[in-house]
């Protein structure tokens, strides 16, 4: 089947080349000299028109893309800073489209308009300081605006206020080949110290269970966060680089072995509300149509039909981390604060779990580590608390 496909493509390509050279050849009738392989007036004319057609192609393709794929982009941002990010994105995009439209037109139009003709004389125009100053200064001004807006937003996102922090929920995102875990710091808002050298049994994160701050820590594999509260994520990795990518929240930070990185945001839309978002409903419908179609094929081949898709926020890995990098995900649920509280209350602490698993032995950390090795979670952060 595939070899047949390849064969067909090769044949078609062959025919196309032959036809196209023919067309270009036909424009050559009459002329034959030493300079056969140098563009003559006819070549200039044909290719000049093609240049003009090409800018048309770029425009049509752009418009078609916007029409056909415009709805593929991520919808409503689900975090507070996400709105600013999207706003800046919209402004930058508008600017890009504007400049792209004009410069591509000028480039291809000139290529068409000034296509060579016998006897046409080019203008000797070597420089013009005024013109050059204009197109140096205009980008300077525009970029200055963009830089200022961008940096303002960046500082807003990356530098968190002290007060804001006090009200926040602290969660550790823990990455490993090929999955995620999350650890909630509990009421003391402090994560117990941890180090990969302490990993043992159910203590998969290497939490130092002797640390008082660790006593109320809870480890889960599905991430819940409350709407309207700042969530401070502390990222850790136990093996290679990973990246915690939460596209719906416009959030991403690498997870680096040997170091703690940080990102925080305030979720603004609960999962339930997002499922009622118009754009999301349309997206889900579209995806389910595709899945139904695919299922038919799979079932016909004796497989199991695909589950229908319901919307969920996702945490993806976005840094190449090994063979199954493409499938390293965790579901994120944004709850109302009350639901969140109830959900978290039900979860046992790691200390409890450890006790149960290792009863009757005392709940002390395995003796390997010296405290000095434990990572101090304030040491290196990728986001700064003012």
């Amino acid at each position: 089947m595939t070899s047949f496909l390849v064969f067909i493509i090769l044949v078609l390509v062959g025919i196309a080349v032959w036809q196209l050279t023919k067309i270009f050849d036909l424009t050559q009738i009459g002329g034959s000299s030493d300079n056969d392989e140098i563009a003559n007036d006819k070549d200039n004319s044909v290719n000049g028109y093609l240049m003009f057609a090409f800018v048309g192609f770029i425009y049509v393709f752009t418009i078609y893309s916007l029409y056909a794929w415009g709805d593929l982009v991520l919808g409503t941002p689900a975090s507070e800073h996400g709105k600013d990010v999207d706003n800046l994105m919209a402004i930058s995009m508008a600017l890009i489209f504007f400049v792209q439209t004009i410069t591509q037109f000028l480039l291809h139009y000139f290529a068409f308009k000034y296509r060579g003709k016998e006897g046409q004389k080019a203008l000797y125009f070597a420089d013009n300081n005024k013109l050059e100053a204009i197109w140096t200064i205009i980008p300077v001004i525009v970029l200055a605006g963009l830089i200022m807006y961008g940096l303002y937003t960046w500082n807003d996102i990356m530098f968190v206020d002290k007060e804001d922090e006090q009200d926040a929920i602290v969660i550790e995102l823990y990455a490993k080949q090929f999955g995620w875990e999350a650890r909630y710091a509990g009421d003391d808002k402090t994560l117990g110290k941890a180090n990969v050298r302490l990993i043992e049994g159910i203590n998969t994160l290497g939490v130092d269970l002797a640390d008082p701050a660790a006593q109320d820590d809870k480890v889960v594999t599905e991430l819940h966060i409350p709407k309207g509260k700042r969530v401070i994520f502390k990222m850790r990795s136990q093996d290679v680089l990973h990246s915690a990518y939460m596209p719906h929240f416009r959030a991403q930070m690498n997870c680096v072995p040997g170091m703690i990185t940080q990102f925080s945001f305030i979720p603004t839309v609960t999962t339930a509300d997002m499922r009622n978002d118009e754009a999301i409903i349309a997206k889900v419908d579209k995806i389910n149509k595709i899945r139904t179609k695919n299922s038919k094929k799979i079932v016909a081949e004796g497989g199991v039909a695909l589950d229908p898709y319901t919307f969920d926020y996702l945490l993806l890995c976005n840094k190449i981390c090994g063979a199954s990098h493409y499938n390293m995900q965790m579901k994120i649920v944004v709850d109302t604060p009350a639901d969140f509280k109830a959900w978290l209350a039900e979860k046992p602490t790691l200390a409890q779990q450890w006790k149960e698993a290792n009863a009757p032995a005392p709940a002390v950390a395995p003796a390997v580590a010296t405290p000095a090795v434990a990572v101090d979670s304030t040491k290196v952060v990728a986001q700064v608390i003012k």
Binding site: T2, I58, G70, L72, G116, L146, G150, L241, I320
Partner: protein, 588 residues
């Protein structure tokens, strides 16, 4: 050195293999670069097929990847990453650094500045042969049992350091590092040669401000290479230490496959800094020569002076300088201090300014010209087009705020392919079409050239433009399949379309290769100055001779861009034409 040609006894070996002649070395680079290009493109087709038709069985995979890499014709997931890695490495370093720079710097620097050869012919030969060895090692790594390097062309540790993390980080990565170390040595020898040659061997009258922009671009590129490649070399060396001798430069606190490793105190972020200190300048090492080639070709074929010659030089210098202080834009979310992010956003967006100047100057050069739309000219105009399309999205990626959400998605893949991959490739093609007569004494067929250009132009947009959209949909790059996420089901059709464009576009490169190899032997005989160009290389005889000019090296009397100058009968005035009595210099 006296170069009365003819008194060298030449054997086949000294002429074609261990040649010291820069023109022959240029051809050697060209052919090796093109062959590596075929490998790189074919690899990309393989992994594009996997993305479009995930986990399907293909006969081709059975044949080319074999049972080990593609059991039953289905590509293994780590092999996907291996192919992406080797594709990226080959394209960036082997095709567009060595292939492009190596070919045209070697060919044009001596010819355009009026030198008999490179400053050191021996080092030049050594540089090529080391490059060749590094090619052989890189290709050999494709046949390693455990698979070639699979950590991405950026080879970030710990993934690249630990064979436990991915099979390709075993012998495959060792070969990658060995190959790149040799490659870097080769590149440094080449670059030093270029710089020394430009500084010392210019003919009488060839002042720096009379040099063609090609030579300026090659010269500055060589300097960037000398500044930044050693840093990659040191990163590679330290990585080799971490891998083989138990040091902890880049590794710390690692627990993998149920085992704690001894590494303590290193940082992968340090590697990222070292890598990108080369990595970013590298994109200009790739791009500047292409821009230089384009400047020359656009001026010649517009029959007009390049607009803003001095501004062009200034922007090359500005880009070169800025390119060494923007590397952090690859690391906004790496965990480095966000204050640094601000600094790198600032410097990165600054680089848009000289780039904009260049684009506008090209467009103005076309204005009121008498455009000779030869294939080389089409590719040059195409370069400006993709340079604009790809460059503009740099405004988004260079902005730390926006990068948070598009970092490492297909948006990035779209951006860098257009602005550096395709642009530089167009520059490469433009150069080949333009200087083919100089290299081989024959002409390439123009109609095949036109077909090649137009199909390539459409396919390049078809492949990379849609990637912006799937990137903005949040699709990460380097994913073996997107079927693990129902969210991405709606992107499947786009991915099929992209792959079809890629296959068609790649298939049409056969037209180029056919044209290239056929014309070497059977092309129409070239005249001495077929494009009616001003620069010195066209004053040498069509037949290659040692030392380039049979007699004295000609003296240069003017800049290279006196096209359609008022007061002259012809629409070009070669650099060796003395100024007429009372003739004025009309440019600044």
């Amino acid at each position: 050195m006296s170069h009365d040609h003819g008194h060298h006894k030449e054997t086949f070996i000294t002429k074609y293999i261990f040649s010291l002649d820069h023109k022959m070395i240029a051809k050697q680079y060209l052919i090796s670069g093109l062959l590596m290009g075929i490998v790189g493109v074919v690899l990309s087709l393989f992994f594009r097929m996997q993305i479009a038709w995930p986990e399907e069985s293909f006969e081709i995979f059975k044949v080319f990847l074999g049972d080990n890499f593609a059991p039953d014709g289905v590509m293994r997931n780590d092999i996907y990453l291996a192919l992406v890695t080797i594709h990226g490495t080959i394209m960036v370093f082997f095709v567009l650094t060595a292939g492009l720079s190596g070919t045209f710097s070697n060919l044009l620097i001596p010819l355009q500045i009026g030198a008999r050869d490179m400053a050191s012919g021996f080092m030049n030969m050594l540089s090529f042969w080391m490059f060749f060895i590094s090619c052989v090692i890189m290709i050999a790594s494709l046949f390693v049992e455990s698979g070639p390097a699979s950590a991405g062309w950026t080879i970030y540790p710990p993934l690249s350091a630990l064979p436990q993390a991915i099979p390709g980080s075993g012998l495959g990565m060792t070969l990658w590092l060995a190959s790149m170390a040799i490659f870097i040595a080769s590149s440094l020898m080449g670059s030093l040669n270029y710089v020394v040659t430009v500084i010392n061997l210019r003919t009488k009258g060839m002042t720096m401000t009379r040099m063609p922009l090609t030579v300026w671009a090659f010269f500055v590129t060589a300097i960037i290479g000398i500044v930044s490649f050693p840093v990659l070399f040191s990163a590679a060396l330290l990585l080799i230490f971490d891998r083989s001798f138990g040091t902890s430069f880049f590794l710390s606190d690692i627990f993998i496959q149920g085992e704690v490793l001894h590494y303590q105190g290193g940082s992968p972020v340090l590697f990222e800094h070292l890598f990108w200190f080369l990595g970013h300048p590298e994109v200009y090492i790739v791009l500047l020569p292409a821009l230089g080639i384009t400047s020359e070709i656009i001026a010649t074929n517009s029959r007009k002076p390049i607009f803003g010659y001095r501004a062009m030089i200034a922007s090359i210098l500005a880009i070169a300088f800025l390119s060494t202080i923007v590397w952090g834009h690859h690391m906004f979310i790496s965990g480095m201090n966000p204050f640094l992010g601000s600094v790198f956003t600032f410097t990165t967006l600054l680089i848009a300014i000289p780039s904009a100047v260049k684009a506008f100057n090209y467009i103005t050069t076309l204005w009121k010209g008498n455009l000779q739309l030869n294939p080389a000219m089409l590719f040059s105009i195409g370069l400006v087009s993709t340079f604009i399309t790809g460059g503009l999205t740099g405004i988004i990626l260079g902005d730390s705020t926006l990068d948070i959400n598009v970092h490492d998605t297909y948006f990035v893949v779209a951006h860098f392919h257009l602005v550096m991959g395709i642009s530089a490739l167009y520059g490469f093609f433009a150069g080949v079409y333009h200087w083919f007569p100089k290299m081989f004494g024959r002409m390439m067929n123009k109609n095949l050239g036109y077909v090649h250009f137009w199909v390539t132009a459409v396919c390049a947009y078809g492949v990379f433009f849609p990637m912006h959209f799937i990137g903005m949909a949040g699709l990460p790059r380097r994913y073996y399949t997107n079927s693990a996420f129902p969210l991405f089901d709606e992107l499947a059709d786009v991915n099929v379309l992209i792959t079809i464009f890629a296959i068609v576009g790649a298939a049409f490169q056969i037209v180029f290769f056919w044209n290239f190899f056929y014309s070497i032997f059977y092309g129409k005989k070239a005249t001495q100055n077929p494009w009616r160009s001003n620069t010195l290389e066209w004053t040498t005889p069509v037949e290659h001779i040692h030392g380039n000019w049979p007699g004295e090296i000609p003296e240069v009397h003017r800049w290279p861009y006196d096209y359609s100058k008022p007061g002259h009968d012809e629409d070009f005035v070669t650099q060796i034409t003395p100024m007429k009595e009372g003739e004025e210099v009309l440019h600044h």
